[in-house]
Every structure is written in structure tokens, then in C-alpha cells.
Amino acid sequence: MTTQLPPGMHIETVDEKIMTLNVGPQHPGSGHMRLIIKVDGDYIVSCDPDPGYVHRGEEKMAEYRNYIQNIPHLERPVIHDSSNILYPYCLSVEELLGIEVPERAKYIRVIAAELNRCIYILYWLAIYGIFMGHSTMFMWPAGDRELFIDLLEAMSGARVTHAYLVPGGVRNDLPSNFEERCLRQVEYFEKRLKEYEAVFYQNPLLKARTEGSGILSRTDAIRLGTTGSVLRASGVDFDVRKKEPYDVYENLDFQSIVMKEGDSYARSRVPYLEMFESCRIIKDALRKMPKSGSVRTKLKPNPKGGNDEVYRRIESGRGAIGYYIVSNNRPEPYRVKISVGSFRNLICMPYLLKGEKLGNMPAVYWGLNYWPVEADR
């Protein structure tokens, strides 16, 4: 029974013991993506991530708009972390156009970026909680996000997509009375974070479920090119804010969080501990910030970049985000390439899930700190 198949096609051989599950794109346990999982009983034989359902062509769109018009649409891939995904764009455009940023604006950018990092991590933590079936851990971070959303609303006027960071500084100055309000809310939030520890991270069932599952060794983490919290949970001390400090990060007092275990529990805990460091950075920056001064260097109308290329990267909630911008003497960039942490962390998912139990899939999947929309860009 040999049927003539077109070249390049083959009939898939199916083992009767193996069941193929399509987790996503319409599944409460997947994002805007699909995981093709083959299971043998309760064990995962292979996992094939299939991203690309929310590709929007941000990089191509950036080639048809000038440097200022690019701001609002480049933050769309991660609207929860919009300041951090705009940060490397602003840095690289400033380097390309040779703009000097005022000192006060640098501090305000750091504060906005750290507030936004907390917003993102809280959202991520809420989804992590509901993935583990812990509904309280879904509701608490989702509610506490409001603290930071309100602060950023006061700064920028928008609750989610702020477009607050622009090449040359920030869009507008802080509102009056911002420092006291920010300090009060951050201090309250630090108290709340300690309650998360009691209800979620010290929970014996959570520990029993995530400790020792999906172990990513230090060498594998480096070899597979992971970044951000996944890399640091595997014992590699790499934080762009420490290693290649941008703006005023070298003046500020904080540590990078590193854990050695490399399992799902460590990957869930590193972002949580980073929120404490973010609060420290915010408080320190509020103290050291110049109390007055300009916050934005005015650009020329429709500025032209030289015949040049530039690459800058920063540390976002999901790892390093880098912008590679090529310019050819025109108001629009010739090429904008965004390197995102989500996509680089997704690569190690098939390695981690092979041989795992199906019940570990949500913890491993969401522990990778992967945001489907950002990975597709």
C-alpha cells in the first residue's frame, strides 16, 4: 500500500500509547500560542511550542515611521511593561542622534521603569498563582497592581500604555506631591509582599509540587541562551542593570537576585525577590533625584540619524531587551530589530518539559517568564 506522496511530505507514524494534546491557542492554560504536547500516560514525551499567533510586524512598522512616531506602537508587545520595552529604544535613539539627557530625567526614567517592572511581575505572579490553582494568589497581586498603576497614571496620564519614556528624557515632569505618595505606596507594598511569602511561597504543597521539577542546569541555561529570571534562577549572576549599567543604575543601591537550584520553584521565586529590589531602587532614586530641573531635551523636528548603527539593551521583567537600529541618513530608521527575552526563554521549553509529568506543565511553562505577545512582536 504505497501511496504516492508529494515530495517533502510524509505520513506521521502514530504510536497507540501516545496521545497528542493541543494546548492552545484556545485553552485556559496557554497564552496566545500553542503547545503540541505528546503524552504517554501522565508523562510528556515531547513538547513543540508553536508561537506566532499574535505577530504584528512591529519591526516592519517601525521602518515607515520616524523616531518620535515609533514610540507608541513599539510599546504594544508588552503593555504591562511598556516603560521597559521603550527604554532601550530611547537609549539607542539618543546614542544615534547624539542627545544628552538631563539628570532629573534619568532618575524619573529609572523610577518609571522600576514601577513598571513591579506591574509586570505582579501580573505574571497572578497568572502563576492561578496556573497552580491558587486563587488567592491570583486576586492579591492583581489587586496590588493598582498601587503602581495609579502612580504611573499620575506620572503619565495613562493607566496601561504610558508612552512615558521618549528619546531625550520623559514626556512630562512628575506631578506635585509625587514623592510622598510614591514612598507611602511603595512602603505599603513591601508589607504586602511579605504576606505573599506566607500564603504562597512557604506553602508546603507549592514547594512539593515545584521543587525539583523542570531543572535547568547552569551550563544548559548559558548554552540555550536564556536570559533574565530564568538565567539567574540557574545560578548565573547576570543582570544588565549591574553588568552594563545604563542611565543612573550605577549610583543606586541594589543587588541582583541569584538562586542556584534552577528548578520551577527558583524560577517562580526570583521575580518575586526582584520586586523587593525594585522597591529599594525606587526609594533610593527618590532620595537621590535632583528636586528640580529640565526633564526633556527638545529634539529637532523630524530628526535624521546618521549613516550609523547602534545596539543598546536593558533588563526588563522578562530578561534583556535589546534594540538594534540601523539608520541611513533618513528620518525613518532603516531597520529596527528587537531582541526580546521571552523568545529566548521559550527555546528551552522543549528541553525542560521532556519527561516531566503533565501536572508540571503549567509551572514550567509560566516559570519561563514568557510573554507570547512579546515573543511574536
Binding site: G29, D42, S135, F200, L205, A208, R209, G359
Partner: protein, 433 residues
């Protein structure tokens, strides 16, 4: 706030009132009266003033109010009342509905939310009714390749089995729907049906998610049925009876939880697993297998499953109360019925009205029901609490817990009970009996 609608016309309003009265009368005469006659036919009617009541004579309560209460009282001692109203389906469904509301508010308070708020004037108390109407009005979708008869009958079987379970729980002295001498064995038999229903409906839906969920439910329930049965043997040994009413009567002086705390803890954990509640809600783990074996149910079929789940929750909490917390036993707190109303009647101005047939319920029954409800509600709250605190466990962890740890603890419990029995402290003829 409230304003009369701008198009309001009094004549139309009165016309609509007449319309309403017409329909009420029509429906009452076509449906209500036949039902009354059918019901009266089955009731053992009382003898009042030496006159035997026929169904037609019983209808004279409309003309003679003094006959109302005796007829109502005799109706309350019929089987149909016990099955439909108290302590059967109506009572259990009322408690189940209250449980759903309390669960939502209680969980919302833990999670710093407000919970249902808008439906109904007070704290969203009508939310459940709204949800019920929504489920009734939704379309029932059946997968094209499902095994339709089994798929259809699954929710009905589930509610029926849960109802059978409810009927075995004694609420007050003498108030139980079914009181077999092997009541506890009957409970085990009824519990054994639930995994079969789960796996049948899961397989009939012909979907991968329901299939995995059904198999998980099967594994989990079978793994936890054995410690469940073993943990209750201690109570049987000490009370010397399988009859649930007798077990309650044996706890008149002390509750079995004081002597068998290990058995109570094991039984409580197995309750959580049998009810598929957090942290053992693997058969419905939404981040892995959508909604498990309930994935393909929609509309009122899902509503029936939910009703069955909460009836089951009430029945298990009631069983815990009956076996470990002394059931209806408790200090007499219900005030006795005033004697002079029975002997002299109520005097309002010049008129003195006597009500034959009072009191409707005796004091023991009301007091017993009060204590039973208080204890059961306490147990229900304990069952609800883990949902706010725990994440979900994994299937290998749950099987390990069920097969190794809980069975071992259940045996320890049995040895404690046997020790107490042979030492002559407890049990039939014991020192404390």
C-alpha cells in the same frame, strides 16, 4: 431614585392586574387543584372530632381554618414530605444554595474582594438565582461525536446519586428519609457510584480533556475510598452499630472525635478528595486539562452537575457531623412551646381563637435540627477554607497520600478504637457507656 415610567397609564396598569388575576385563577384550577387532589390521595389523613377525613372533606380547610393545621401536620409525616422537603431534597438544596453564596462571599473576603454585590438589594443575595436563570436559558451543546444517551443521562445520574446520599443523613431524632440498619454500608455503596458516573460521562463526551479528567477522577476517588471506609470503622467498632441514627444516639455523652481524632482528620481529607475540592481538584484542573470531565457540559447540564456537587458537599458534611460531632445532640436551647396557647388559645380583644394541632414540631426535633445545622455549617466552612489557601497538588502526590499515608493512619485509628474496646473503656458494656 424611583420614578414612574413616563408612559405610565393607570388604566393599563389595572387592566394588567386583571389579566394577572385571570391567569393565576386559570393555572390554579387547571394545575394547582389536580395536584392538591393527587397529593391528598396519598396522605394518611387524620381523624378530627371522630370524623374521618376524605380528600374532599380535607378541602374544607378553606371554609374551616381550624382544620388547616391538623392536615398540614399529617402531611408532614408522609414520605413525600420527607423526600421532597425535610430532611430530603428541599432542605439539602436550601443548605447547598446557602453554601454556594457563603463560599463566594467567604472566599472574596479572604482575597480582599467584595464578591457578589449587585443582584438583590443586600450583598448580592440573589446572585445564585440569576446564575440559575442564566444556566437555564443557555443552549445545551452536545459534541457531534458524543455517545448521546450516556452523555445526557450523566448529570441526571449525578444529581440522583447525590440525592440518594442526602436521603441517608439523619437530621433530627426520627427525621431521616431512609433509615436502613446498614446505613453506613449504604453510604459506601452510594459513594461508589460517583467515579463510575464521572468516567462514563467523560468517555461519552469523546474529548481528550474529558477523558484525562475522567481517568483522574477515577484514580483519585478509588484511591481515597479505601481510607474513607477504613477511617469510619473506628466509629462502627465503638458504637457497635451501622445504623446512622443509632450512631448519633451513642454519642449522647461525648462525641467520637474526642476519642478518634486521627480518624476524623483522615475522613476530612478524604472528603476533600471525594468532593474534588482544592487542593484535590485535579479532575477539573483548568490550567492543564481545561475543565476536566466537565469540559463539554453546557447550560443546565452543567447546572445539574453543580447542584449535585453541592448536595454531595452537604451530605459529606452531614455525615461528618453524624459520625464524629454527635449529630443532633446538644444542650436544649430551643424554648418550649407556650402551653396556654394549646389549652386556652390566643385571645385578641373579644375573640378567642383555638388552634388544634399545635405545636407543629416538637421541641426535640427543632433543637436537634438547630444543632445539626450549626455543626454541619461549621464543617462546610472548614471544607471551603482550603480553597483560599492551597494550590493544587499533582496526581502522583495525591495517589501517594491516598495509598500510603492515609491508609496507615486509618489503621492506627482502628487500633486505637480496638484498644479502647478491649480495655473496657468504651463500646457496648464499657465503663463510659
Amino acid at each position: 431614585m424611583s420614578t414612574i415610567a413616563p408612559q405610565f397609564r393607570l388604566s393599563r396598569f389595572i387592566a394588567s392586574l386583571f389579566d394577572l388575576i385571570f391567569w393565576v385563577l386559570l393555572i390554579f384550577s387547571l394545575v394547582g387543584l389536580p395536584i392538591v387532589f393527587i397529593v391528598l390521595f396519598y396522605i394518611k389523613l387524620p381523624v378530627i372530632n371522630g370524623q374521618f377525613m376524605t380528600p374532599y372533606l380535607a378541602l374544607t380547610w378553606m371554609a374551616d381554618p381550624s382544620r388547616t393545621l391538623p392536615i398540614v401536620k399529617s402531611f408532614m409525616h408522609t414520605t413525600i414530605f420527607r423526600v421532597m422537603a425535610f430532611p430530603g431534597f428541599g432542605f439539602a438544596a436550601l443548605l447547598a444554595a446557602a453554601t454556594i453564596f457563603v463560599e463566594r462571599k467567604f472566599l472574596a473576603k479572604i482575597q480582599l474582594r467584595v464578591g457578589p454585590l449587585y443582584c438583590g438589594k443586600i450583598e448580592g443575595i440573589l446572585q445564585l438565582m440569576g446564575d440559575g436563570f442564566k444556566l437555564m436559558s443557555k443552549e445545551i451543546i452536545i459534541p457531534a461525536k458524543a455517545d448521546k444517551p450516556i452523555f445526557w443521562v450523566g448529570p441526571l445520574l449525578f444529581v440522583g446519586t447525590a440525592g440518594a446520599f442526602v436521603s441517608l443523613i439523619p437530621v433530627a431524632p426520627g427525621w431521616v428519609v431512609a433509615n436502613p440498619n446498614v446505613g453506613l454500608l449504604a453510604v459506601f455503596a452510594v459513594i461508589g457510584f460517583f467515579p463510575i458516573i464521572a468516567v462514563l460521562t467523560a468517555w461519552a463526551a469523546n474529548s481528550k480533556w474529558t477523558f484525562i479528567g475522567g481517568l483522574r477522577a477515577l484514580h483519585q476517588m478509588v484511591a481515597f475510598e479505601i481510607p474513607l471506609i477504613l477511617s469510619l470503622l473506628g466509629v462502627v467498632i465503638l458504637s457497635g452499630s451501622l445504623n446512622l441514627s443509632n450512631i448519633v444516639e451513642s454519642q449522647e455523652h461525648f462525641w467520637w472525635i474526642t476519642f478518634l481524632p486521627i480518624g476524623a482528620i483522615v475522613f476530612f481529607i478524604t472528603i476533600l478528595a471525594e468532593l474534588e475540592r482544592v487542593p484535590f481538584d485535579l479532575p477539573e484542573a483548568e490550567s492543564e486539562i481545561v475543565a476536566g470531565w466537565l469540559t463539554e457540559f453546557s447550560g443546565m447540564m452543567y447546572g445539574l452537575i453543580q447542584l449535585g456537587t453541592y448536595l454531595k458537599l452537604y451530605a459529606f458534611a452531614g455525615l461528618f457531623t453524624v459520625l464524629f460531632l454527635g449529630g443532633w445532640n446538644g444542650p436544649m436551647v430551643w424554648p418550649p412551646f407556650p402551653q396556654d396557647i394549646i389549652t386556652h388559645g390566643i385571645t385578641i380583644g373579644p375573640v378567642t381563637a383555638k388552634f388544634p394541632g399545635l405545636p407543629l414540631f416538637d421541641q426535640d426535633m427543632l433543637n436537634g435540627t438547630l444543632w445539626f445545622v450549626i455543626k454541619t455549617v461549621g464543617v462546610i466552612l472548614l471544607i471551603l477554607l482550603p480553597r483560599g489557601v492551597f494550590p493544587r497538588v499533582r496526581i502522583d502526590m495525591i495517589l501517594h497520600t491516598g495509598w500510603y499515608k492515609l491508609i496507615g493512619l486509618a489503621f492506627v485509628n482502628i487500633f486505637i478504637a480496638l484498644g479502647l474496646l478491649y480495655a473496657g473503656v468504651l463500646g457496648p458494656g464499657g465503663l463510659l457507656h
